[in-house]
């Protein structure tokens, strides 16, 4: 991990209302290069809204999101045009959905799923795209023979790894993940966590991971936000929050984990 002098992302007072209903309110935090941020909280606490607002899939009602872009320097996401946001999302950002069927194109092959971001960036050389496809299939431990297979034929763990490869092919700096290990067998989860940890280290990648699994939080994240009713109730160093929770709700969350 390379120590950086500047954060990658700075969120200030981000708020999203759906009519009168609060999606998330007054969200502020910083994320640094190579850092993994966990967001925990019960269902309906605004975790997924936070991710969608952060990536401008939803426009925030209020607040500022600053991002230190590799290509454009410091940018205020609110000031970017839709096409600039889209460009950012497919070059420097990535998004891994809980349900890989939403994050993948199920009607085209695994290889096409990985190659799409490259083609969107203007790569027009089949051989080069193919090479990247092979490289990323290997990197996420999928047999390269499966490049031409439809994702429909993949297992849940493979689909999630494919979705990760599809996002990482342009070597983004920030990847948002919504319950990446949700719905997977425990052994498959471990493999995925190991892979994510290795990728974070290899590419100095920053992750924002929404999860309800405190074991995932403990093993993967550096920094943690605890959310309730759309607001952050406690934030800080992950192991500090898990081992020395200060807020009553965090204490409840931590004490509710079933020990094996």
């Amino acid at each position: 991990m390379i120590f950086s002098k500047e954060p990658l992302l700075k969120v200030m007072g981000m708020t999203k209302y759906f009519g009168d209903r609060v999606g998330c309110r007054d969200i502020s935090f910083e994320l640094w290069p190579g850092e993994v941020l966990g967001i925990v909280g019960e269902s309906g606490s605004g975790k997924t809204t936070l991710l969608n607002t952060l990536s401008y899939h939803l426009e925030p009602t209020r607040g500022i999101i600053l991002y230190w872009s590799e290509q454009q320097g410091l940018v205020d996401l609110g000031q970017l045009s839709e096409s600039q946001i889209r460009y950012l999302m497919r070059t420097e950002w990535g998004m891994v959905r809980q349900n890989p069927r939403e994050g993948l194109r199920m009607r085209v092959s695994a290889g096409a799923n990985i190659g799409e971001r490259l083609m969107a960036l203007g790569v027009r050389h089949y051989g080069r795209i193919r090479k990247e496809v092979q490289k990323w299939l290997e990197r996420v431990e999928i047999d390269t023979d499966r490049a031409n297979d439809l994702p429909e034929t993949f297992s849940g763990g493979m689909l999630q790894r494919l979705q990760i490869a599809r996002n990482l092919v342009t070597q983004p700096r920030l990847v948002l993940m919504d319950e990446p290990t949700g719905g997977l067998d425990v052994s498959v989860q471990a493999r995925l966590l190991d892979l994510l940890r290795a990728l974070v280290a290899e590419f100095n990648l920053s992750l924002i991971v929404v999860t309800h699994d405190l074991a995932v939080v403990r093993l993967l994240t550096h920094r943690l936000l605890v959310m309730r009713h759309g607001e952050i109730v406690e934030s800080g160093l992950t192991d500090q929050l898990l081992d020395d929770p200060h807020h009553p709700y965090t204490q409840l969350l931590v004490s509710s984990v079933i020990q094996v």
Binding site: S83, R86, G115, M119, H125, Y126
Partner: protein, 317 residues
């Protein structure tokens, strides 16, 4: 479309009397004006799909109602109309459309490409190069080239707006991965005027190069989907491809069994019950003219021609 519109045109076709009780070219003048306005916008933004108020026509949707409405909006009493279907002037669909316009306008009909002022087509561009002043009107079933990969219309519109076209290449990528080459034979997507990706309608990719810098005006109508788009004369039209897999047109080892052409798009025809087959020009006018210039048909060619007619009559949709 030439000259001021006369509400009571003089008869051109003597055999068919003008149908009583219909406006000239079937559609009312208000609708025609609306379509012409849409066409102007479409020509101003080459390749961009413009919505229009598609009307009920006396033919079923899918029979070329988009093209018919454009033709109806443009046609004037002095126009000479050619209608082809799969390259042939004499198939059911082409004949039905011609009948509609003869009955409601009385305009002159031709099979000769170079004589027509308006050419309505399904699935082909004539082999005879089109000239300045001519208008070719394509019948389009699916105007959205991105739909195969992205079924959400709001999303495809956004992709067009932002020229966000990586997805189109995904289809070509899939072709090469599966077949070792770009296997898309029809509706091969094109980039119009370096900006909008458009569907050339279900013409074979053989015809794609004819669209590039064509002297004639190209108009596209999708009746069911209520979309019109256009390519003005001399507009750059590029067929999408990869650097290492460049765009190529189909080639045949055979020549036309009737006129001997090696340059035209050939249809494969099953000749008899024994599975014998032959190849003939898909463009009947082109084939006919070559034969007239050359020798008369031999008896075997007459048999072939009959087979061709039978076959084409059967497959009209």
């Amino acid at each position: 479309m030439r000259g001021p519109l006369k509400l009571q045109p003089k008869m051109k076709s003597k055999s068919v009397p003008l149908q009583e009780g219909y406006n000239f070219a079937y559609l009312d003048e208000g609708t025609k004006r609306m379509i012409r306005r849409t066409l102007l916008k479409a020509i101003a933004i080459p390749g961009h799909q413009i919505p229009f108020g598609s009307r009920e026509m006396p033919l079923p949707l899918g029979w070329g109602t988009g093209g018919i409405q454009i033709t109806a909006a443009l046609i004037g009493p002095d126009d000479i109309l050619k209608v082809i279907d799969q390259g042939a002037d004499d198939t059911t669909n082409a004949i039905s459309i011609k009948k509609l316009f003869v009955k409601t306008t009385g305009v002159q009909i031709t099979e000769r490409t170079e004589k027509a002022t308006l050419i309505q087509t399904r699935h082909r561009i004539p082999e005879t190069p089109l000239k300045e002043g001519q208008v070719i009107i394509y019948q389009v079933p699916i105007p959205e080239p991105l739909r195969f990969l992205e079924p959400r219309e709001p999303e495809t519109r956004k992709m067009h707006a932002l020229a966000d076209y990586g997805l189109m290449y995904v289809k070509l990528y899939e072709d090469i991965s599966t077949h070792g080459r770009i296997a898309t034979a029809f509706m091969y997507p094109v980039l119009v005027h370096h900006r909008y990706i458009a569907s050339p309608s279900p013409i074979p990719r053989f015809d794609n190069p004819k669209m590039d810098r064509m002297p004639a005006l190209q108009l596209f109508g999708a009746g069911r989907e209520k979309r019109i788009y256009a390519i003005p004369p001399y507009t750059t039209v590029k067929s999408l491809d990869f650097e290492d897999y460049p765009f190529e047109i189909e080639k045949w080892d055979q020549q036309c069994a009737l006129c001997g052409s090696r340059e035209s798009y050939l249809d494969e025809i099953i000749k008899d019950d024994q599975g014998g087959r032959l190849f003939v020009c898909s463009d009947t006018d082109y084939c006919q003219q070559r034969r007239e210039k050359g020798k008369n048909a031999s008896p075997s060619e007459v048999v072939a021609m009959k087979a061709v007619r039978r076959k084409k009559g059967d497959e009209t949709t």
